[in-house]
Symmetry: C2
Subunit: 276 residues, 2 copies
């Protein structure tokens, strides 16, 4: 088996650069030295060490992609762009016939799924590429379906910490609230304790200095009403490597699906985890 | 619906007394004031507040149970006795036709299941009656079956603390090792860190003084090989109330099964949790 060609769109964004770096270091992949970028980006190229990546603006993308397809043959596209670009990019990939991994959050998600379903390509679409966190969420979903009311009479505390720039509450924490509700705990989303203060993150949470700019820490604490039982679940992610690694797994999975001629199908990270 | 009559065997043992106490305080149950006890017990009666419980030695149990059945009609038996009594007691319950909840651990578990299967009664048999912990174990089992290899490349630490008298390693921790192994972590059972030192439990674990004599604390920590991801799962139980409450749920469940004329069937706490 040869290596899989990958085009990572969204450079010079953090996640796109991180995934591109990983593909450069990994023999299973070959990075295409082009990346779709936003209309607001002034630079025309971006360097990852000595690798020069040409940045392609929306106006130039149709012609550029035709040339890239001609030169490279089959490749997988990865999208870490911007919520405002999600739907437009998906329609572009589908129109050109480019199987893609969508790691960008936001946009109209329903329309995103419909776009792929009506197309001739398969895609992996996942708001969270961290495999182990996706697995943990699946565990909680399973419990909430299988044992509704399991934690009746328990009180819940949820706290999360993310880099200062993240304005909204953690999507993972919100998804977990829905599972805990099903398990018998009356807990509204707005009770999630959201930490964005760098000083508190350093001193009280113990988050390492180098990850203050990029982390996702979550702790869920359940206490029985007689206070004799305490459950605590924690998942702490520093940096973005785990998401990049999950993206690589999604690329491998998608390329298998392309070989099996799977058309118009949306896969999730749970599918990638199951691997079938 | 009237209250359910319950005979709790194993007094004056801690768990039997705890369950009996709970039934005395709970209108859904009516405690039968007799309890099977071991041959080594000198006392012939035991007081829970003002309630006098007659203790029945093995030699006297056949005659006593005939009289109790005549007087009380239908009742559910609960067994918190001794590992050495598990199989003999189960055979006794089956011979007399007494549906039972077996909370006693140990004995020949295969023979125990066979005894019930060949009988005309249903039974709930569960080495762990804490509903939420059973639910958590089921979650991990689900993940290990659905996502084998989920934690590949992770290191694991398991530590547990129990009262000084507990000689063996936590059975729950051992069950969890099997799930983690399936999820890709090479971790042998003997690496479980077992705390039985009262001073360490007090000072380093922060276990409350009043629960040093009866607690089960467990923490599982998973760290990715690049150290950027950390999962931690904790379940801490103080005292025995959660097990007693789970036992009450098992009694309710079993009595429904008796009404539905379910014969020769073994149910687990997972069945009780699902409630169907």
């Amino acid at each position: 088996m040869g290596s899989i060609k990958v085009m990572v769109n969204g450079m010079p964004g953090n996640m796109a650069v991180n995934v591109a770096k990983q593909t450069l270091q990994d023999e299973r992949f070959e990075l295409i030295h082009h990346s779709l970028t936003g209309p607001e980006i002034a630079d025309t190229e971006y360097f990852i060490d000595s690798a020069k990546i040409m940045l392609i603006k929306p106006a130039a993308r149709d012609q550029a992609i035709t040339e890239i397809k001609q030169k490279e043959g089959f490749f997988v596209s990865v999208d870490y762009t911007h919520p405002s670009a999600v739907n437009g990019n998906a329609e572009f990939y589908c129109r050109i016939g480019l199987p893609f991994v969508m790691g960008t959050t936001g946009g109209d998600r329903k329309r995103l799924l419909d776009t792929v379903s009506a197309s001739s390509i398969p895609a992996v679409i996942a708001p969270n590429m961290a495999k182990q966190i996706v697995g943990f969420q699946a565990m909680m979903e399973y419990a909430s379906n299988t044992f509704p009311g399991l934690f009746e009479g328990y009180t819940l505390e949820i706290k999360e910490s993310h880099q200062k720039g993240k304005a909204d509450t953690s999507g993972t924490a919100k998804a977990m609230v829905a599972y805990f509700n099903k398990m018998g705990i009356n807990f509204p989303e707005q009770d999630i304790l959201k930490e964005r203060d760098i000083e508190v993150q350093k001193t009280r949470w113990g988050i390492p200095q180098e990850y203050l700019g990029g982390h996702g820490w979550h702790t869920y604490t359940l206490v029985s009403n007689d206070k004799t039982v305490r459950f605590e679940f924690t998942h702490n992610v520093n940096g973005r490597d785990v998401y990049a690694k999950g993206t690589l797994d999604a690329i491998l999975y998608l390329s298998k699906k392309v070989n099996a001629s799977t058309m118009g199908t949306v896969f999730t990270m749970a599918d990638v985890l199951k691997g079938n």
